[in-house]
Symmetry: C2
Subunit: 175 residues, 2 copies
DNA sequence: TGTTTTTATGTGAGTACTTACTTATTGTAC
DNA sequence: GTACAATAAGTAAGTACTCACATAAAAACA
């Protein structure tokens, strides 16, 4: 990975996340990266290839983030850690960039996100099962739906009180 | 409102909702509407004006949709009707178009959606208060966050089981 | 009423500029 | 000196938007 290639990736992540994929031209990316436009196509073949490279990098980061939750054996801890994913974003802005980009791309291009949440879903299902909940699968799905809803507000509504909502949920689940 | 003006609005609603705002050119809209491109600018001044016209029309529809919930006096009915908003979308595809566009625009352009959910939030807050919940405001916010999460899956995940999730939530709130 | 004048609606070709992408050429490290 | 990194200068197609002009509808006046 050359230095300029990394600069392209960084610039594209910023611009795609802030302005959106379609609203960001390869020319803008090259200027932001301080690089000739042609270099983008040499390294990534086309604009979509650049997007895919960023998305793949984000997926790797997500796996690391999820690993800690999936490997947790204490069911209440699984739920608590899941609910607190948002706090991680506040501390780690690059992780937040990747997440935000996921949602932006999902809505802008409607390319289906794949099954990358599946391991988390499984871990939650098992946790709720161990805790004796009547419908563990639905409970797990509800938490993930909640996470998506909170992400919308966290990323797009500057007045959203993330911590307040998370602690409210923690008290609901007693975790 | 002339016939051609309405055709432009209809075509733009479809294209903006399916392909996104930035990915839809005024030329595409004019072709879909069977109208000269210049007419778009005669009626709406620019592309953003066209978007605003559609958004305003959607806001009117949303007010009608919310009115029925806000005026409901039975607290459990307020919650049930709110949870069942998604079912309305399934029956009324044009309403669904407007909703989907709201989310697409929100993520694509990050223009703040305004306070159009405020009356619904209020109604829910009062409902939870009457039912003796400890934190009615947080409960109301949670329901709206849930709605946003379900919307993501409803519009973008073809396998999402909306009815299953809604009836699960209804059983949770006993409504 | 019929005629003229104004206004609203509509077109199609053109504007300057941007888009994603290509190609030919040069720099550079081993 | 070869393989790769990088650039500058292109390309054709597309972009939002404008303009001069045509037609239809409405208003004003005789």
């Amino acid at each position: 990975m050359t230095e300029k290639k990394e600069k392209i990736l960084k610039a594209a992540l910023t611009l795609f996340t802030n302005d959106g994929y379609n609203a960001t031209s390869t020319s803008k990316v090259s200027k932001e990266a301080g690089v000739s436009e042609g270099l983008i196509f040499r390294h990534f073949r086309n604009k979509e290839g650049l997007l895919n490279a960023i998305l793949e990098e984000g997926e790797k980061q997500a796996k690391v983030l999820f690993a800690d939750i999936v490997m947790e054996s204490e069911p209440k801890e699984v739920i608590r850690k899941t609910l607190e994913i948002g706090q991680v974003m506040k501390k780690n802005p690059k992780e937040a960039h990747f997440w935000k980009l996921q949602y932006k791309i999902k809505w802008e291009t409607e390319r289906y996100g794949g099954k990358k949440m599946e391991p988390l879903h499984m871990a939650l299902r098992n946790a709720f099962e161990k805790l004796g909940y009547a419908q563990p699968a639905k409970e797990a799905e509800l938490i993930l739906i909640n996470l998506d809803g909170m992400a919308l507000h966290f990323f797009l509504d500057p007045d959203f009180d993330l911590e307040g909502q998370v602690s409210f949920l923690r008290s609901k689940y007693e975790v």
